[in-house]
């Protein structure tokens, strides 16, 4: 039976880079996938593109490509990534430029264009899933609308000879499904195979989260060498069978437990995991350790895809202002609570217009280090040595947001005794909502960029 090995080189945009190099060097892989596009990243990238039409792709694209392109080119490893963000063509041109500068002249780089469905969304004025309202009602706060594309166009690019495939918004598991469809010639209506491939893509897409990252709990779930965490490799058979493993000697662990946690990560109904290409069914998946750091995954299924694509809509939601300040020693907790009361009253007195406010107390040993912080400060043993006050609020303008942090900062001279380390911030909030778009309204195409 034919088998391919797919490495997962990034689980989010800021992820570590060395594990991807390790995969390319020692992973014996044919495909290297970088999943770098968070829910709101496309909206932020769209803002960057509006300021500079040559930008709008992932800010770490150059660093990642420089790190892996020479190795991948020499070994024939194909790269698939969503680092195109809001501008896959610019990302492809940039990658071609990097390839040329590295002396790699024969690479074929493909951009997948067409996830931007802002026009279609505005014309259709679709309802927003998360709250009452429609796209049109967002008015000039609307920034972007990008459909989660399926694996089809990426598989097509690979079959047309692409060495690097760069997409914008696509479903994360589809980044992994594309090499399977390409390598094995899976039919786009073989729901069970697409379901199995989706299980594999879902397990691999968060990189280190299946090899021991986001898992360790000392004394209960110990994981070796997290500072050198190895990223996962999926060995996928043409029948959709899957073994998850990692590079021998790298940090972390692949166990039945890490795989079970990742199987359910960000899943709602496990029997209906909605994807652009299939409705995957995880409910009968079985997980079995067959050797150290080798786990076999079986039982994935699928049913027919739905008629719609999920669209991620970026919009300017509000502004958030924040302030923090710390108190230590005996009575720290009481002074922290007093500080919160004062700020609460000040925000009322001075008429700060916030639609939502939050008052928190944080702290272990940030002020005076572990030794001093271990001092018994109270007859009541549960009293913390230090607390950090945190006040945040949502406003309709930056000016109002600034006032929240200011009120916390004024605790220095107007608040309880011994307040230190004040900090404040105010920022705009680009948030993301969703709509469902009839799938025929998105028409993705493949564009090649020559080196």
């Amino acid at each position: 039976m034919r088998t391919i090995r797919i490495g997962s080189g990034a689980g989010y945009s800021g992820d570590r880079i060395e594990p991807a190099i390790e995969l390319a060097e020692k992973g014996d892989i044919q495909y290297l996938v970088f999943e770098c596009l968070g829910e709101r990243t496309v909206a932020l990238a769209q803002q960057a593109r509006m300021k500079n039409p040559d930008l709008g792709y992932d800010p770490l694209l150059e660093e990642r490509m420089r790190a892996v392109l020479p190795l991948c080119a020499s070994k024939g490893i194909k790269i698939v990534t969503n680092m195109g963000a809001a501008h896959p063509e610019a990302a492809a041109r940039k990658t071609a430029e990097i390839a040329r500068s590295l002396g790699l002249s024969r690479l074929r780089i493909a951009a997948i264009v067409g996830d931007d469905v802002l026009g279609a969304c505005k014309a259709g004025d679709f309802p927003i899933m998360e709250f009452d309202g429609t796209i049109k009602q967002l008015g000039n706060r609307l920034l972007s609308a990008n459909a989660y594309l399926g694996a089809g166009p990426m598989a097509e690019a690979l079959s047309a000879g692409a060495d690097v495939v760069i997409t914008g918004r696509a479903s994360d598991p589809a980044l992994f499904l594309a090499p399977m469809i390409h390598a094995f010639g899976w039919a786009m209506d073989d729901w069970n195979l697409l379901g199995k491939g989706t299980v594999a893509g879902h397990l691999l897409e968060c990189a280190g989260q299946i090899t021991g990252g986001y898992f360790a709990d000392p004394g209960f779930k110990d994981v070796p060498d997290l500072a050198r965490l190895g990223f996962p490799i999926g060995e996928v058979g043409e029948d959709g069978s899957l073994v998850v493993t990692k590079v021998a000697g790298s940090g972390g662990a692949v166990t039945a437990q890490t795989c079970k946690e990742q199987l359910l990560y960000e899943v709602h109904d496990p029997a209906r995991y909605l994807q652009p290409d299939v409705v995957a069914d995880f409910s009968h998946v079985t997980i079995e350790e067959i050797a150290p750091d080798r786990v076999r995954i079986s039982g994935g299924q699928g049913t027919k895809r739905t008629g719609t694509l999920k669209v991620s809509v970026g919009y300017l939601d509000s502004f958030i202002g924040e302030g923090q300040i710390s108190y230590a020693g005996p009575g720290a907790l009481a002074r922290g609570r007093l500080a919160l009361e004062i700020v609460r009253e000040r925000l009322k007195l001075t008429g700060v217009a916030a639609s939502e406010l939050r008052f928190d107390l944080i702290g272990v040993d940030s002020l005076h280090g572990p030794q001093v912080s271990a001092h018994e400060v109270s007859a009541e043993a549960n009293e913390p040595y230090e607390v950090r006050v945190r006040v945040t609020g949502r406003t309709e303008s930056l000016r109002e947001a600034v006032r929240i942090g200011n009120e916390v900062e004024t605790l220095y001279t107007n608040g309880p005794a011994g307040g230190g380390g004040a900090w404040k911030s105010a920022r705009d909030v680009v948030a993301v909502a969703s709509v469902l778009l009839p799938r025929e309204l998105a028409a993705p195409i493949v564009r090649f960029v020559e080196t």
Binding site: Q257, H284, T392
Partner: protein
């Protein structure tokens, strides 16, 4: 005993919805989870955090439960005021749940 003794857990986020898996270390403990880690108990445990419905999905083949908790993430990950906007730390909080070492609940 605490749930932490017999199960492990991971939180995921989508919009304003959080999901928490609860996975038995040993499959013989799955009936304890089924009987005692109910949607109602999870909702009560997170009173003040979860504002929506809690739905429980059962995965006997991997001895796991999946809890989907609506209106939990301060209006959504991308706009929440919370320090942990994703709610990633909720899984550890759930493991504090008390479990009776018998099948009666």
């Amino acid at each position: 005993m605490k749930l932490r003794e017999i199960a492990h857990s991971r939180t995921g986020d989508k919009g304003n919805t959080s999901n928490i898996s609860v996975i038995a270390y040993r499959s013989e403990h799955y009936p304890l989870l089924l009987a005692q880690v109910t949607a109602e108990r999870v909702r009560a445990h997170f009173a003040g955090v979860v504002e929506g419905e809690v739905v429980r999905y059962e995965l006997p083949d991997i001895a796991a439960l999946n809890f989907v908790m609506g209106q939990t993430l301060g209006g959504g990950v991308t706009r929440s005021l919370a320090l942990d906007a994703h709610g990633k730390s909720l899984s550890s909080a759930l493991l504090d749940l008390d479990i009776q070492d018998t099948l009666g609940s």
